[in-house]
């Protein structure tokens, strides 16, 4: 908005500054080789997952529609990745399974981040009593061992994609909350916050206009490090049979490989791809996360000019 006398409004200025900062950040990011590798890798996998219907027909996932296929076919006999014990195409499972692994990882992380950020900001900014209570609750959730809780919840709620997302989200928010709170505490000391308060800004104004934008990069970096954990958790839950039995996922592929005897058969095409896929996704996020951390945390900028 342009003000009456033709100069840019404070809001406009702020947005321009942010855009420049993002542009600088992106330029920096592009210089980071590991960061780019991670980004490219992630885009490839996400692309593969999105393009799943084009890459493999969904009917190939169903045993009743694979009756004509040979079972345990090697990739050379049944390109590109052979078949499993019921004749289903392993490639189809891999490609469609990516969707679940990514979906669960991202959705669960979003829940965790949103919850964690809200709690973290509140805890960092509020008075002693509220902050203490919130941090106590956070610690309680940190203490409960994840896998046993996940197993019980999955057993109670029933195995489905939605419930797995819920379970992982609910158990992952504490670490974000802690991180955000620590950052908020340091920010509170910053001069501009003091000045804003002196000028009469309300807490809510400060939280949304100053704190949140400053914390956002940290949240972003934290997100990229929480997603791998969420994906690995989904894999473990599916492997233990707690995921949705009707949807292909990489964890489920490993579960079926293990229980149908792929190991002793040497059917590497069944158990190697899912594991490698998970590794690739996790590595991508970790690399992106580390690159982001380096950019956002000025202390780590060593080799840059």
């Amino acid at each position: 908005m342009i003000t009456v006398d033709g100069t840019l409004s404070p809001r406009r200025i702020a947005w321009q500054r942010r855009r420049r900062a993002v542009a600088h950040g992106w330029a920096d990011y592009r210089r980071s080789v590991p960061g780019m590798i991670g980004l490219v890798g992630l885009l490839l996998i996400v692309g593969m997952a999105v393009a799943a219907p084009l890459l493999a027909d969904a009917s190939q996932l169903r045993a009743v529609d694979s009756i004509g296929n040979p079972t345990w076919a090697t990739p050379s006999e049944f390109p590109p990745l052979g078949t499993d014990n019921l004749g289903r195409s392993v490639w189809a499972q891999f490609v469609w399974g990516a969707r679940i692994s990514l979906l669960v990882g991202l959705a669960a992380t979003v829940i965790a981040i949103v919850l964690g950020s809200i709690v973290g900001i509140l805890a960092g900014y509020s008075g002693r009593v509220l902050a203490a209570v919130l941090m106590r609750i956070t610690e309680w959730f940190l203490v409960i061992p994840f896998l046993p809780l996940a197993i019980v919840l999955a057993a109670v709620l029933g195995p489905s994609v939605r419930n797995v997302i819920l379970v992982i989200g609910i158990t992952s928010w504490p670490s974000t909350a802690r991180l955000v709170r620590a950052q908020v505490l340091t920010l509170k000391e910053r001069l501009y916050v003091e000045r804003s308060r002196a000028l009469g800004a309300s807490s809510r104004y400060l939280m949304t206009r100053h704190i949140l934008p400053s914390v956002s990069p940290l949240i972003l970096a934290s997100l990229t490090l929480t997603v791998p954990v969420a994906i690995l958790s989904e894999t473990t839950l599916s492997f233990l049979g707690l995921g949705d039995p009707t949807r292909a996922s990489w964890g489920k592929m490993l579960d079926e490989a293990f229980s149908s005897g792929a190991l002793s058969r040497g059917a590497w095409w069944y158990y190697l791809p899912p594991g490698l896929g998970i590794m690739a996704v996790v590595l991508s996020f970790v690399l992106i996360g580390q690159a982001l951390e380096e950019i956002l945390d000025p202390r780590l900028r060593e080799r840059r000019a």
């Binding site: 169903r62 045993a63 009743v64 529609d65 009756i67 079972t71 014990n85 019921l86 004749g87 029933g158 195995p159 049979g241 039995p245 009707t246 079926e256 293990f258 229980s259 149908s260 005897g261 190991l263 002793s264 058969r265």
Partner: protein, 594 residues
């Protein structure tokens, strides 16, 4: 620091050498004990109490620990002397007087007398012991003297004189428990009259049994039997190949052919009448299923949407045979043959037509039919026993076919224990399970009677897992229960099972043999029961265990570490030395760098 590191290296090397030496020593120290190991998977011992246990694997422990009045011949189950060496019939076939062998004792030295027989038979009848009722419900035992027992049946009983399913329990231990305690008793005292008695039970891991020196046919040449539980079939097969176990039960179909062609290994396809079924909640239990399933037309349509041949080929790898009716006995004569025009052949067009004609249409275009008039969608719960090798793939297929006829299946993973409870409560629509019948058809066919359904007062107590009730079936059961003429009895049983088939509630898929494999290098004396076609272990009375003997030249004791182990440890030791050495060298080069 430097000295510390060097000391570490020396210690590491010493440790490695020590390990290698002791490993060699340990391997040398092979047991002189003759141990026979059996691997099992996917089924678990629930309890070793013969009154209550229901797992197929429990029976092998009971078969070896507890003697019975009569045994069953390995080749055809005919009654042969067991604890009783002879018997006489009287009273128009209703009384049999058994004479026990001389000098019978329990494994703890207490004499085994008619007191034990009377105790077992009478209390099992009075208290309706779960696993005994079907056999002793009409029997009364009376001791004539220490060695003679008269067993009288209130009705003519075609099963007598065979009492090979009634495990005789030691009165001096079990008799002290009252009716409540006796069903909770874990049964681990290890006092029995069979060739082996329980030594150790580690739930979820193994059961160990040791040879009974007081066994009436003489102490067996095998010192110990171990039943080892594997939670992964692959691991079990690998253990069999490596010689960690001598025999394996429930070998996965995948591995079966390979084992059959391996030298030194025998693969056994044991047929004892076992079958797999997909059961639909028959609606006569504590809770009714989805309303559509009460309509026979829906059930028939579903039966037409199950391709038994494909299931047999893909899930059981063709090992077994397609079946339509319940197989109530190891003797196939008792299974009725369903005429082809009454069979539910796989025909999706027919199935869809039946549902269309019956008014179950898909009114909202989501691919799932609704109740006539557009009510509830046809969404059925289907319980899958996740620990079974075959249940998940079968569920996958059934779900796929049902989808093609507009029925949605919601899979619910569960375990055998949980499913048992769920069936009793009736809170299910469908499940997949299997049975291994006895020899006489009676126990199996008795389960489908109306009074065998779980009741509200006691939902855990039931045998009728079809939750199906048919008064005509019950009446026919009473008839065959006293029919002594075999051909007449066959006809009645056939009629009963045909009725069960026609209701389309209990869809038998296939006769599924027990797949087993054993090594030929350490033991001999394997007996198939029934002869030529049956399994060698986990058969009806498992006579193999009593007949096993070690082959003279068996080498190392099967336990201990073995050469491979020594190699592994030495390699680890060398690796440890290597790493420490590397660390040392790093230090040196770092020093030189300055």
């Amino acid at each position: 620091m430097k000295t510390a590191r060097r000391m570490l290296a020396v210690l590491g090397a010493a440790a490695a050498v020590l390990l290698a030496v002791t490993a060699a020593a340990a391997a040398d120290d092979s047991d002189k004990k003759v141990v026979f190991s059996v691997g099992i998977t996917s089924t678990n011992f629930d309890t070793l109490n013969p009154i209550m246990g229901y797992s197929a694997v429990d029976f092998d422990v009971w078969n070896t620990q507890y003697g019975t009045l009569t045994n069953k011949a390995a080749k055809d189950f005919a009654p042969i002397p067991g604890l009783a060496q002879s018997w006489q019939v009287s009273n128009g076939g209703k009384t049999y007087t058994y004479t026990l062998r001389d000098g019978l004792t329990w494994s703890d030295g207490t004499p085994l007398t008619s007191k034990d027989i009377v105790f077992t038979i009478n209390r099992s009848r009075e208290e309706e012991w779960q696993n005994y009722s079907a056999f002793t419900q009409n029997l009364t035992a009376r001791a004539i003297d220490d060695k003679t027992v008269a067993v009288t049946s209130s009705i003519p009983d075609p099963k007598l004189p065979g009492l090979g399913d009634v495990y005789i329990l030691p009165e001096h231990i079990w008799g002290k428990l009252d009716a409540k305690e006796i069903v909770k008793y874990p049964g681990l005292d290890g006092v029995g009259s069979g060739p082996f008695t329980t030594l150790e039970f580690k739930r979820g891991q193994f059961v160990r049994m040791k040879a009974n020196p007081s066994y009436w046919a003489g102490k067996r040449p095998v010192d110990e039997i171990v039943f080892r539980i594997f939670n992964n079939a692959d691991a079990m097969v690998a253990a069999l190949k490596k010689g960690e176990i001598d025999a394996a039960h429930n070998v996965p179909s995948e591995a079966f052919d390979g084992l059959g062609t391996t030298a030194g290994m025998v693969a056994v396809q044991g047929n004892q009448g076992g079958f797999d079924e997909i059961a639909i909640n028959g609606g006569a239990g504590l809770q009714k299923p989805h309303p559509a399933l009460l309509d026979r037309r829906v059930r028939v349509a579903m039966a037409h949407a199950i391709d038994r041949k494909v299931l047999l080929d893909r899930v059981w790898l063709g090992i077994g045979s397609v079946a339509q009716a319940v197989s109530p006995s190891a003797d196939p004569a008792w299974t009725p043959t369903i005429p082809p025009d009454e069979q539910f052949d796989f025909n999706l067009v027919k199935a869809n037509k039946i549902l269309d004609d019956a008014g179950y249409k898909d009114t909202n275009g989501d691919g799932i039919r609704e109740m006539p008039g557009g009510g509830e969608p046809l969404d059925f719960s289907y319980y899958v026993r996740s620990e079974s090798e075959v249940a998940p793939p079968v569920a996958e297929f059934v779900g796929g076919w049902m989808k093609k006829i507009g029925i949605k299946i919601t899979q619910k993973p569960t375990t055998a224990d949980q499913l048992t409870t769920i069936i009793g409560k009736g809170t299910y629509d469908m499940f997949h399970w299997s049975w291994t019948p006895y020899v006489d058809p009676d126990p199996q066919i008795s389960y489908f009677r109306c009074n065998q359904i779980a009741t509200a007062a006691d939902p855990g107590s039931y045998n009728n897992d079809a939750n199906w009730c048919d008064p005509v079936y019950d009446a026919l059961y009473k008839q065959q229960n006293v029919e002594l003429d075999r051909s007449k009895r066959l006809a009645i049983v056939h009629r009963m099972l045909t009725r069960l088939h026609d209701a389309a509630s209990y869809n038998v898929i296939a006769l599924t043999p027990d797949l087993q494999a054993y090594r030929t290098d350490r033991f001999t004396g394997w007996l198939r029961q029934p002869a030529l076609v049956g399994p060698v272990i986990f058969s009806n009375t498992s006579p193999t265990y009593a007949s096993l003997a070690p082959i003279a030249s068996s080498g190392d004791g099967g336990g201990g570490i073995g050469t491979a182990g020594i190699v592994g440890i030495v390699v680890a030791g060398l690796a440890a030395i290597g790493i420490v050495g590397w660390l040392l060298s790093r230090r040196r080069s770092a020093d030189e760098r300055e």
